[in-house]
């Protein structure tokens, strides 16, 4: 009951903010909310379950492309398109996860990186279906239940996606499954000895976080009303990893802090160093791993305890 009230309060506060911001800031704000949703779901598979994957952004792209293609090329009605898009994400995530999560450590990362790169190749070569290198553009979200969801009203949709993602992850994290995931991360042998099915835990964690990324991607498709291959490239897969590590992996609050910092940093830095903010990201990443493996949230914990 308390958590429902908390979620509702957060939803109202975050939505209200959209109506206080100008058009440009509203656009920045929406993308920030989507990045937070992505970082939260990535934190589940990386921070909580301990699996390094680079396919997270590919699933974001799969969700975005799926909804656009289903709605406008295949002319599905919206609810059916959403259901089919989610089903596609589930099917692809399982197809990747079942063989790939047997791989240890960074080998999983490289297998999923190959999958993500292959997705980009398919997008570029997909001809009329994916729109090739130019992607798909100039479509509009049809009215939902007679409501025109554009502008700030659409920000409310994104807030709901974010709150939904956070609620699902919090719920799962606090269940036996969340504890199983942490056990798999910390010591797979011990987890197996305690009766945790390690392989199944990894597959479910990967699928859950990938599908949540896919749903965020569906919401993204109508933010700029265009989807194209560069948006879903490897760069951003690295960035979401950096966000989680800098913020503090394994902690929901860490994912949020890291995302807000790394997303807003370029806006502050661009007058100083132009387009080279990725250099700062790299330095932050190395510094975080060397000096503060628990990330900013770990730093906060230590200061708060004093």
């Amino acid at each position: 009951m308390k958590s429902i009230a908390l979620g509702l309060g957060a939803a109202i506060a975050l939505s209200a903010l959209a109506f206080l911001l100008g058009d440009y800031h509203n656009d920045v704000y929406r993308k920030l909310l989507l990045w937070i949703a992505l970082a939260l779901s990535y934190n589940f598979v990386f921070g909580i379950c301990g699996q390094v994957t680079f396919s997270h952004f590919a699933f974001y792209g799969i969700g975005a492309y799926a909804i656009v293609i289903l709605l406008f090329t295949a002319a599905f009605p919206l609810p059916l398109a959403i259901v089919c898009g989610v089903a596609l994400c589930v099917a692809l995530a399982l197809a990747v996860a079942i063989p790939a999560t047997r791989l240890e450590g960074f080998y999983l990362a490289l297998a999923t990186m190959a999958f993500a790169q292959l997705f980009i190749v398919v997008l570029n070569e997909g001809g009329a279906i994916t729109g090739g290198t130019g992607g798909l553009a100039s479509y509009r979200l049809p009215p939902v239940l007679g409501l025109d969801l554009s502008g700030r009203a659409y920000t409310v949709v994104i807030v709901l996606v974010l709150i939904g993602t956070a609620a699902v992850l919090r719920r799962v994290d606090h269940s036996w499954f969340g504890r199983a995931c942490r056990a798999v991360r910390d010591n797979p042998e011990a987890a197996a000895a305690m009766g945790v099915d390690v392989a199944r835990t990894k597959v479910i964690a990967f699928t859950l976080s990938s599908v949540l990324a896919g749903i965020a991607g569906m919401a993204y498709a109508f933010v700029d009303n265009t989807v194209n291959p560069p948006i879903f490239g490897l760069e951003n897969a690295f960035l979401v990893l950096f966000m989680v590590i800098v913020g503090g992996s394994g902690r929901h609050a860490g994912a949020v802090v890291g995302t807000v910092l790394l997303y807003l940093l370029p806006f502050i830095l661009s007058p100083l160093i132009g387009q080279h903010h990725a250099l700062v990201f790299g330095v932050l990443m190395v510094t975080a791993i060397l000096l503060q493996p628990r990330g900013l949230i770990g730093l906060y914990d230590r200061l708060a305890r004093r």
Binding site: G105, A114, Q117, G282, I289
Partner: protein
């Protein structure tokens, strides 16, 4: 057949580059277990060093190449000092240095992009343009040069691992770190040496490939993926595996482009598909490590 032989020289040359990158991964993975995804960026840095010394300062090719390799050895050692040794010393899980090196990858790439801008830079051929025919085999001077230099590097690596005491030290550390340390092998010296050597080898690959594709700040990650694919195909156990994997990958790529009835763009997917298949079906690679 003529067509195939022509293609074979070019494919063997690219295969040698992939093999060198795979070897670079291998010399670091064997003793430490660290997959250093920044090898592609090392190759990129060497390519830009080639641009500076050979194109800019007009150094002679052998002198320039020696200077670049020396610089790469220092860079590899420095990378290990900054991003790997503190973590290994602190007993961090092996994933920590791997992720720190991903951070270094971004630092390397953005520093180069900051210094040289986004335009590709020309690096000269050591023997200029030209075509060499050796019986039925024909290809550019550069292709034969790439094959020759790679053969030297692989020969040296093979000799090092099979015939020298230091090579045996590497193998001992690969087999059992703790036992090796108890036998009096200096672990941190082996780790430092492996990163210096890895960087040097990646640097050679970078200088060799640079005249063909020009030095560009985004050239690193594709090379890193191709090199890793070659490593996975050949297996992380043996030096010959890296070369075999590189050659197989290059031939698979070139034959797909030339003969397979798919659009050229899909040929980029060949290393990716091979990487996924080998990781999942045969993670130990084609050649197994010697027991």
């Amino acid at each position: 057949m003529q067509d195939f032989l022509e293609l074979a020289v070019g494919a063997a040359a690219s295969g040698c580059i992939y093999g060198l990158l795979a070897l670079s991964y291998l010399v670091m993975i064997r003793p430490t277990g660290v997959i250093n995804f920044a090898v592609g960026e090392w190759a990129m840095i060497a390519a830009f060093a080639g641009f500076l010394l050979l194109t800019g300062a007009h150094w002679s090719y052998p002198l320039g190449m020696a200077a670049i390799v020396a610089f790469m050895l220092v860079l590899g050692w420095a990378t290990e000092r900054i991003a790997v040794r503190p973590l290994l010393d602190a007993g961090a899980p092996v994933l920590a240095p791997i992720l720190a090196l991903l951070g270094m990858l971004v630092v390397f790439r953005e520093s180069i992009s900051l210094a040289f801008g986004p335009d590709p830079r020309q690096v000269p051929y050591p023997f200029g343009f030209g075509r060499l025919e050796l019986g039925p085999l024909a290809g550019s001077y550069q292709s034969f040069f790439m094959i020759g230099v790679s053969a030297l590097v692989f020969g040296a690596a093979w000799y090092f691992f099979e015939r020298t005491v230091w090579g045996k030290c590497f193998e001992a550390v690969a087999l059992n770190r703790r036992a090796a340390a108890l036998m009096g092998i200096n672990l941190s010296r082996v780790t430092a040496l492996s990163f210096a050597a890895g960087s040097g080898i990646a640097g050679v690959a970078g200088i060799l490939i640079a005249p063909n594709i020009s030095a560009h700040y985004l050239m690193g990650v594709p090379l890193a993926i191709q090199g890793f694919t070659a490593l996975v195909i050949g297996g992380v156990g043996r030096v010959e595996g890296a070369l075999l994997g590189g050659l197989l990958l290059a031939f698979a790529e070139q034959l797909t482009v030339r003969y397979a009835p798919v659009p050229a763009g899909y040929a980029q997917g060949v290393p990716l598909v091979l990487l996924m298949i080998f990781l999942i079906v045969r993670p130990t690679g084609l050649l197994r490590a010697r027991a």
